[in-house]
Subunit: 338 residues, 2 copies
């Protein structure tokens, strides 16, 4: 599934980010996307661009509903550009020095230029969506542009809440789930909704696709939260406990804060008011999570969400190949080890 639409995506991305030699900002974009080096010269071996989850979901949804996935490609490129824009800005906020085995954009060009490059990437995505071209009715173009911008706004709202959470002592699970539904979920959900809108305007179908997309978005983040603490380092490629060392308030931690009482609660509050964690601190957190069954609770939430996704899928009338793909997608999102 992740290779099926790659050619369409690459064509649409290349059209969305034109090689304007006189545009200063273009070099930054092409560098971030792995297409060129710092001087703007084309890369001999373009770096890996990841698995392009959002564009693939977009073109798959269109294809599954008997639309032409090529019509969805310009919007799929926009989703990839918005995702990349958020990575450029995240790297600035986290002061990350390396991404995809090369120095980050801000590390090369400085914060201010990296910020505007991110803004440009998002706008090129908007233009790509608006310029979807022949074969698509203008009303659909407008509808799809609205879906894209709305979900981008939801993503921003999620980022804003996340920043607010960082300053707070405790967060309720419900608040956390609402935040990730916006910050991570909105763009994943709209990826599918946008692809679907290219194939149909039936409101019931659209609602079921959105419901399915919502489940995929939550699965993606909750599984990420699980692997960030209990994942196998040899498989994920990330250091286990790294979410704890970074004191990320991911779902298991939020759950623990909400359900710990007495000495455990005191201990968590004390630990998370510290500036940094050492090895014994990390182990203490892991012990508390164990004691409260935060891992089982996270698995449980994953299972419930996967069921919601399957229920939405059952409401959709898709050809057998697409139903099969969609089921596999849920399983991959829910049970992946990396």
């Amino acid at each position: 599934m992740f290779d099926r639409y790659r050619e369409y995506l690459e064509k649409a991305l290349a059209a969305a980010v034109p090689p304007l030699e006189d545009h200063a900002v273009n070099t930054l974009l092409r560098y971030h996307l792995g297409w060129s080096d710092e001087t703007g010269a084309a890369s001999a071996t373009p770096a890996s661009q990841g698995k392009a989850l959002r564009p693939t979901l977009c073109m798959f949804a269109c294809d599954a509903l008997q639309g032409d996935p090529r019509h969805a490609a310009p919007a799929a490129a926009a989703l990839e550009l918005i995702h990349n824009f958020s990575l450029v800005h995240d790297d600035i906020q986290d002061q990350g020095l390396e991404r995809r085995h090369q120095p980050t954009v801000w590390a090369v060009w400085g914060t201010e230029r990296a910020l505007v490059a991110g803004d440009a990437m998002q706008s090129l995505g908007d233009l790509s969506t608006l310029s979807v071209g022949s074969g698509v009715p203008p009303d659909t173009v407008i509808r799809v542009s609205q879906l894209l911008t709305q979900s981008y706004l939801e993503m921003i709202e999620g980022q804003c809440r996340d920043l607010e959470f960082e300053r707070r002592e405790t967060i309720e699970s419900g608040e956390y789930l609402a935040m990730i539904a916006l910050k991570t979920g909105a763009l994943i959900r709209s990826s599918m909704a946008i692809g679907a809108a290219m194939a149909t305007d039936d409101p019931e179908t659209m609602e079921n696709v959105a419901q399915f997309g919502r489940a995929i978005g939550r699965l993606f983040q909750i599984r990420d939260d699980y692997l960030g603490i209990w994942g196998d380092e040899a498989i994920t490629g990330k250091s286990t406990d790294s979410d704890i060392v970074q004191r990320k308030k991911s779902y298991p931690i939020v759950y623990a804060f909400q359900h710990a009482d007495g000495a455990n609660r005191e201990e968590l509050l004390r630990l998370y008011s510290q500036e940094a964690f050492d090895e014994p601190d990390v182990n203490r957190v892991l012990d508390i999570l164990d004691e409260l069954g935060a891992d089982r609770q996270t698995d449980e939430l994953t299972e419930v969400t996967a069921e919601e996704g399957r229920a939405a899928l059952a409401m959709l009338e898709l050809p057998p190949w697409a139903t099969e793909d969609a089921k596999n997608l849920i399983d991959f999102m829910a049970y992946r080890l990396f």
Copy 2:
């Protein structure tokens, strides 16, 4: 002219930035626009929003070409939101603490949240443009959204070049004019082009409107550059010499760098390699500008640009009231004292 469309604009702005009480980011936006205080409570006396140049130009262009200026209002609101978004981000970059007699957004909420609030403002503008509603053909909605996004991308490219100029010793006048045509000019030009597109799709008319808008944009910046050095402090409300103290490479300085030779050139290079200017430094720069006739040259460029604007206007067939307004607009932009 600046009061004529205010009611339409206010209505469109209010619709574009809905009072969603559960949206954390909304408080920041409403605060920046002067509609609410830091807690989100509505202001008893909404702060001044400036003269809303871009929205006014947009609705005027539509009106002058016999379109309905109310159709242009949602896009006009978008232009105002994008302009405000650039102010929020500028305040972060310049570390400005006050704007419109209140603390800046980043000063209240911090840099990260101010950044995402700016992003949200721009996207609300996009949505406003896409949701222009009945009476406007969908093809026009798409065309206008494209014009808006393209000019926003040009603005970003201008910002990027401006940041690059800061690191360079000298800049050619031509490069400077190309930069301001993007950074300041693009949004002013597109304001008129977008209004015009709501009324006509005649390519010749569109080109003449764009030409007129380009002249207005350059006049706006060049006059700003003039007043930033030689303006009357009592009228502009800004300290004269402030552009020199801030060592802005505005047009007169760029001109001086390009035309100074011998001792003057050495002196300029020495002065602008310093960390800061004291009073005698400022006076030394003013003397060099005088000697090279940079003020006359700036006036000359203003006059040439005003003539270009008048020539574009002469090609447009507008009703007498609109021609009159457009001529006054050129004169105001070229000869304003504040």
